[in-house]
């Protein structure tokens, strides 16, 4: 299969592409940053069903009476009729939220208690805490995964898998920075899912490389990697394809609310498959060339005939 040979022979190119992604992401962070939602920054979200078409200006006038004219006002709602409004603003306590609802009710008397679709308030302290906790949990998880892969494979495999992982996370963050999608708690779950998928996908390929290194001890490492990739390619494609089917149908039929969340997963699975084939094995080859391996390969859970 010519395609796989290209992947391995031109490994510097593929690694450069990932380098570019990471640099681009860092640049975008500086220019546009990420659009953190209230989960991380603190603030309030009010989501009302108004029951008829309206202008955002009308909402802004209502908010002006409460000194909140700087709030972000978005129309929402099903097909054709945009009769819902989502207001994002600074942290408000219960009384303030009720006052806004009362003022809205004066303009649109058809609004009732059930018109409050969502009303969230997150204090600033909580947002910062959540961010910190998520980062700590992720860092410990990454270290533990490195240790496990080092134990089962070797250190170079662990480093390569984590580099592929970082590539995937950065790519998704880059998309979120470009499109300024809102980052809320569900996004953390999406990011975790992508990481889980990416590491899983990479390990399957590494497992085959490890196995073939034992079987074909006299072959060049490059050839072993190529052979392993060719043998696992159908599996990589089929697994991504089936996961994409589930995600695709969630994207189409799952409703607007979860679309950014599903979009993150879709991108993540695609990039995760990419990095497992194009990046992780190549990084391993380069590490292997530069540093060499200190460990003999043993496929520990089954013996080869």
């Amino acid at each position: 299969m010519n395609f796989i040979d290209q992947v391995i022979d031109k490994r510097k190119n593929w690694i450069s592409i990932s380098g570019v992604i990471i640099v681009l992401t860092l640049i975008m962070f500086l220019i546009r940053g990420l659009n953190f939602g209230i989960d991380f920054t603190g603030g309030s979200i009010l989501h009302f069903e108004i029951g008829e078409e309206f202008e955002t200006q009308e909402i802004r006038e209502v908010l002006q009476n409460h000194g909140l004219e700087d709030s972000v006002i978005q129309k929402a709602g099903g097909e054709g009729e945009e009769s819902e409004v989502v207001i994002r603003t600074v942290s408000l306590d219960e009384d303030e939220r009720n006052e806004i609802f009362n003022s809205m009710q004066q303009v649109w008397p058809q609004m009732t208690e059930d018109s409050i679709l969502r009303s969230d308030n997150v204090g600033g302290v909580i947002g910062a805490e959540l961010r910190q906790q998520a980062i700590i949990a992720l860092s410990i998880a990454v270290v533990a995964i490195i240790l496990y892969i080092t134990f089962r494979f070797e250190f170079n495999f662990a480093v390569s898998a984590i580099i592929a992982l970082i590539n995937d996370v950065f790519f998704v963050l880059l998309l979120f920075s470009i499109f300024q999608f809102e980052i809320e708690t569900a996004f953390v779950a999406a990011l975790l899912t992508i990481m889980g998928y990416s590491i899983n996908d990479t390990i399957v390929i590494f497992d085959r490389i490890r196995e073939n290194l034992n079987l074909y001890k006299n072959y060049k490492k490059e050839e072993v990697v190529k052979m392993s990739l060719k043998r696992t390619l159908t599996r990589s494609i089929n697994t991504s394809f089936t996961t994409l089917i589930v995600l695709g149908s969630l994207f189409i039929f799952g409703g607007i609310t979860i679309r950014p969340f599903v979009a993150a997963l879709l991108f993540g699975v695609i990039i995760g498959t990419y990095s497992s084939i194009f990046l992780a094995p190549n990084v391993w080859l380069i590490l292997q060339d530069r540093l060499g391996s200190k460990k003999k390969f043993n496929a520990s859970s089954h013996s080869e005939a």
Partner: protein, 434 residues
């Protein structure tokens, strides 16, 4: 020679899986705990205001939780979640379609310290004398500062109450009737004797809600709070008085209320979307892997049964991040089958017999599946241990999903595929997608 006994064994096992699917799905529908984002409801995170002494604080937070629990119980919320987080925080989750969100918010957070003050408080230089007139004549409540309240000893407090209930007076105005404990009755009789023709102030938290003039000594142990707005406000106040005051002021750190329609829509859509997606995946598996593909449908069926039964068994709550974990674990369950079938195909291409191919295919796929799943499992368990809230929900579904998928792929799939081969009905490797 077809081995009919193996064939019947296979049919019975497959029929059993199919037979279990329906009761499981209706059981899941009836018993699944839906999170706020899917069911609608209220989520509040409260933090106790500074208490200097750590032992006192611990005790105060514990007592506050007891008070909130009884308030929530009186609201009639089914399966409320009430948890202490860290040293001085309380997390409350009330899910449900019938919940009156405003009422719940009102009832949970109010300290509800009821105090009776004598007329001396009127002489306080910082006390606005207009308060009495406004409360009594214009029937509105007036806020007075905590400093003023702290300077005066209350005549009675909420501790002296035995019971409180809302009802209407003869003019049809709602009021809260209170009944004192025997100790409270003595104190109230003494106070009303002392202050005949003078006002007594009833203060709930920082609000003067009533300041009636004492006409004659009241010895019967009953009193009433008027000027309480409508009847639902009256019953909320009564409820808070019955369940007692919070021993500490709680500040709202985070609140989320989700309307029932938004959540229900999300849930319906997700279920439809997931079913369509899963159906297409099964179709793909059958088209691509033929007979093993068909077997994998049953394996995935069993996987879903185990996954959902365990999730419900441990009382897990289904939330949006949980669904993400679910999607990933379904992906990994399919992946395990794909890895195995690809291995079997490789063995068949090497011209091995069907029987040895299935055997060695499983054997070789085992280490791959173990390593990839264990790596993800390590990540998931660390997230569970260190994460909170949504991160945790994700980790729980993912962990159980991985375990269920390993079981079905390694044990169940292997068993039914081997049995299928042992029936000796399948000779042609075409049926294995080669």
């Amino acid at each position: 020679m077809i081995k009919w006994n193996k064939f019947f064994l296979l049919i019975v096992i497959l029929a059993l899986v199919v037979g279990l699917l329906y009761p499981t799905s209706s059981y899941v529908r009836d018993n699944a705990n839906l999170g706020l984002d899917l069911a609608g409801g209220v989520y509040v995170l409260l933090e106790a205001e500074d208490v200097d002494d750590e032992v006192d604080e611990d005790d105060a937070v514990e007592r506050a939780m007891t008070v909130i629990r009884s308030r929530v119980d009186e609201l009639g919320v089914s399966e409320p979640v009430l948890q202490r987080e860290g040293r001085n925080r309380i997390r409350i989750e009330l899910a449900g379609e019938d919940l009156d969100r405003d009422e719940a918010m009102e009832v949970i957070g109010r300290t509800a310290q009821l105090k009776f003050f004598g007329p001396e408080i009127l002489d306080d230089p910082d006390f606005d004398a207009d308060v009495i007139r406004e409360v009594e004549e214009e029937e509105q409540t007036e806020v007075i500062s905590q400093e003023v309240l702290d300077r005066h000893e209350p005549l009675l407090t909420g501790d002296d109450l035995a019971d409180a209930s809302a009802s209407y007076d003869p003019q049809g105005r709602p009021f809260v009737g209170i009944e004192f404990t025997s100790e409270g009755r003595d104190k109230f009789a003494e106070a009303t004797t002392q202050y005949v023709n003078q006002p007594i102030l009833m203060v709930l938290d920082n609000e003067v809600i009533s300041a009636p003039n004492v006409n004659e000594p009241i010895t019967g142990g009953n009193a009433s709070i008027e000027n309480v707005g409508d009847i639902s406000e009256a019953s909320n106040i009564a409820l808070m008085l019955r369940t007692g005051a919070l021993p500490v002021t709680l500040n709202e750190l985070e609140t989320r209320t989700v309307g029932p329609t938004l959540g229900a829509e999300l849930l319906d859509n997700s279920v439809v979307a997931a079913s369509i997606g899963l159906g297409l995946v099964l179709l793909f598996m059958v088209a691509f892997y033929r007979l093993p593909g068909i077997m994998s449908c049953f394996a995935l069926g069993l996987y879903l049964i185990i996954l959902f039964m365990v999730l419900i068994g441990i009382g897990a709550t289904f939330t949006l991040p949980g669904i993400a974990g679910l999607v990933l674990s379904i992906g990994m369950a399919v992946d395990a089958n794909v890895i195995i079938f690809e291995r079997i195909k490789e063995e068949l291409r090497d011209k091995k017999t069907l029987r040895t191919s299935v055997d060695s295919g499983f054997k070789k796929a085992l280490s791959t599946i173990l390593d990839s799943n264990v790596t993800t499992l390590i990540g998931a368990s660390i997230l569970f241990y260190f994460g909170t809230g949504p991160v945790r929900g994700f980790a729980v579904t993912l962990t159980i999903g991985i375990l269920a998928s390993m079981f079905t792929a390694i044990i169940f799939s292997k068993f039914i595929l081997k049995t299928l081969v042992q029936t000796r009905m399948v000779k042609n490797t075409k049926y294995f997608g080669v």
